[in-house]
Amino acid sequence: MKKNETILLGHGSGGKMTHDLIDQLFARYFDNPILRQQSDSAILDFSTGKLAFTTDSFVVDPVFFPGGNIGHLAVAGTVNDMAVSGAVPLYLSAGFILEEGFPMESLEIIVRSMAEEAKKAGVSIVTGDTKVVNRGQCDKLFINTSGIGRLEPEYEHISSGINIRPGDKIIINGSIGDHGMAIMSARNELKITTKIESDCACLNHLISESIMGCRQIRFMRDATRGGLGTVVAELVKGKSFGLKIDETKLQIRENVRGLCEMLGFDPLYVANEGKVVMVAGADEAGGILKRMKQHPLGTEASIIGEITTEHQGIAWLETVIGGKRIIDMLSGNQLPRIC
């Protein structure tokens, strides 16, 4: 890659420049036997059973932030959507919309971190696409990733949560609000000097190791946009059980709390990109927590609440001072373009 080289409209023309970009950048970093075919479609082996299929677009601003970048996020986000459905993530696609003038060096860093993250998660990026738009018609770059994973029959119920029952425990693998506040602090307009790191990470290994052999995994969801609050509020909506969160059990980093206090955000609703919320039977919750804590992404895991018979259809918080309040779905837009 030449120094100071930038993305030109020609890179999206489908001609030689596009081919060079694919060969020298995408194919080089994402290399695998399926991608190497460079055919119009990736051809995948498919045995019987169920597939999990998901897609997500990434428009985060800024594209580089403490703890990650848009590429890192584009892989982790889609891998996590599959993992929390109980699936084993296998393949990803990657579609890029690039703004004319975007530095090639930055694109290379982003593509490299996508490759690294995919390798860590054990998934292959098997197909992709590149488009270039005129300067000003998109902001730097947008990435879409789709993912395909294999879903074992014993985990089919997880995404719907139909087996949840009173007494089940709520587990989360660590602190909340890190990603959203990392993005806020990285935006220049606030001129904040404290460095908050995003928690952006692929959770598939953490999840598979924690739930190994378990029969009472009732539900999982990654607490991204809308945060933990939105996950639990959605979970109980219209259901015949309630959900209690103990505020004293929530982990919130000092700098995240500080920034939230200052800006008037409630950390419950601030986005995470490396947090899974699990509902598990009381008998198995302790074991899951123990295994979770052994994984580097789960050292700060804790049981933060439980499913209750009282307050049906409502998620509520027992506050630090012993009061109660409802946890409702977030309405409006707390923070635009965080993922």
């Binding site: 307009e189 500080g258 206090e261």
Partner: protein
């Protein structure tokens, strides 16, 4: 977090709760007139911890909520001018005007920027000399000194393209008007931030004229509980007075420098409050000396006719006569994502706080 966790101590809160329960014999209604208190009371679930004799009601303490729809309509008219940039605190952006909102206008292409401080609006003015930058000056004695300081700065720097559209208001006339209107209150939780600027003297008339106590309170649960206890003590012993609970921030004399700046830039005028109507000397108008920075004087616009929403009882809620749940629109037609009245928009509004935390 240091200096916060101490004021969220469960044991201390419980101690105050027990003490309140022990001494409270009369049924009392205590009103908070600061949006920060409304939020804190709901967020921490404070009503849960009080005996049935103590009822908390929310008053007109959210600046967005008491602002007239006509003000929003005029701000929208400004933003439609090609040479205007609107700079505003985030709360105002979603407040519905008669037929539009600043949020909708922004989607249509108006240049509207959210700022965290009026000083950011000054920077925008400096960087966009060919545009008129209009800052929407909203809030009580808390935010008004900021607007005053910005106007003085702009005037000294010759920044002629910086304007303030003032909806600034002062708190005491509203506190008195509520009692004059016969709203049943037994004491006020005084606004902590307003009082930081004004000091305690602006409330002296309330015990004197009306026999009601005012306790200037901080915003953490321990602060609020202690203030409630102080008010209940005053009521039980029949000794209404002005007291400061929030002594770590509020000085009896207030912030003299900020008061001087307010006096320098603003003069009182009669102003319209949602729910209360026109109150004498309750608004802050930019003085003639600084009229070069007064959007109302310097920028001509045609404003559409203001239409008030049907069925919305924000006015009665702001007076503490009705609760959000009494409104037919609450939670059905009017929600935070599609608000009808201003109390549902600002996250300090009674309806929004109730919707979020206590339905």
């Amino acid at each position: 977090m240091k200096y916060i966790d101490e004021y969220r101590d469960k044991g201390l809160v419980r101690l105050f709760a027990e003490e309140i329960k022990k001494i409270s014999t009369k049924h009392v209604k205590l009103m908070e007139v600061c949006g920060g208190h409304t939020m804190s009371i709901q967020k921490f679930g404070i009503p849960d911890l009080l005996p049935s004799t103590v009822e908390l009601i929310s008053g007109p303490g959210c600046p967005v909520c008491v602002t007239s729809r006509g003000y929003i309509d005029q701000a929208i008219a400004y933003c439609r001018l090609a040479d205007v940039i609107i700079a505003t605190y985030g709360d105002l952006i979603r407040v519905p005007g008669s037929t539009s909102s600043l949020e909708k206008e922004r989607a249509l292409g108006a240049d509207i920027r959210i700022v965290y401080s009026v000083l950011d609006a000054l920077i925008i003015a400096r960087e966009n000399r060919s545009k008129k930058v209009v800052f929407l000056g909203i809030g009580f004695e808390t935010t008004a000194p900021g607007s005053a300081a910005a106007i003085i700065k702009a005037s000294m720097a010759g920044l002629r393209n910086f304007y303030v559209y003032s909806a600034h208001k002062v708190m005491p006339p509203a506190m008195e008007a509520l009692i004059d209107e016969g709203v049943q209150i037994n004491g006020y939780l005084g606004p902590g931030h307003v009082s930081t600027i004004t000091g305690e003297k602006i409330y002296y008339d309330i015990p004197k004229k009306y026999g009601l106590g005012v306790v200037i309170s901080g915003f953490e649960p321990v602060d609020v509980m202690q203030s409630i206890l102080m008010l209940v003590q005053q009521i039980e012993s029949n000794q209404p007075k002005v007291e400061i609970q929030y002594t770590r921030v509020v000085k009896p004399e207030g912030n003299i420098k900020a008061q001087q700046m307010l006096e320098e830039v603003f003069e009182p005028r009669d102003d319209w409050w949602r729910g209360l109507g026109v109150l004498k000397d309750s608004g802050l108008k930019i003085r003639e000396n600084y009229q070069a920075h007064d959007a109302e004087k310097m920028i001509e616009v045609v404003v559409e006719k203001t239409i008030e929403p049907k069925g919305c009882i924000c006015g009665l809620i702001l007076k503490g006569i009705k609760k959000p749940k009494d409104c037919k629109l609450f939670g059905t037609v009017c929600t935070p994502s599609d608000p009808v009245g201003s109390c549902m928009v600002s996250n300090e509004g009674s309806c929004a706080a109730f919707y979020m935390y206590n339905r």
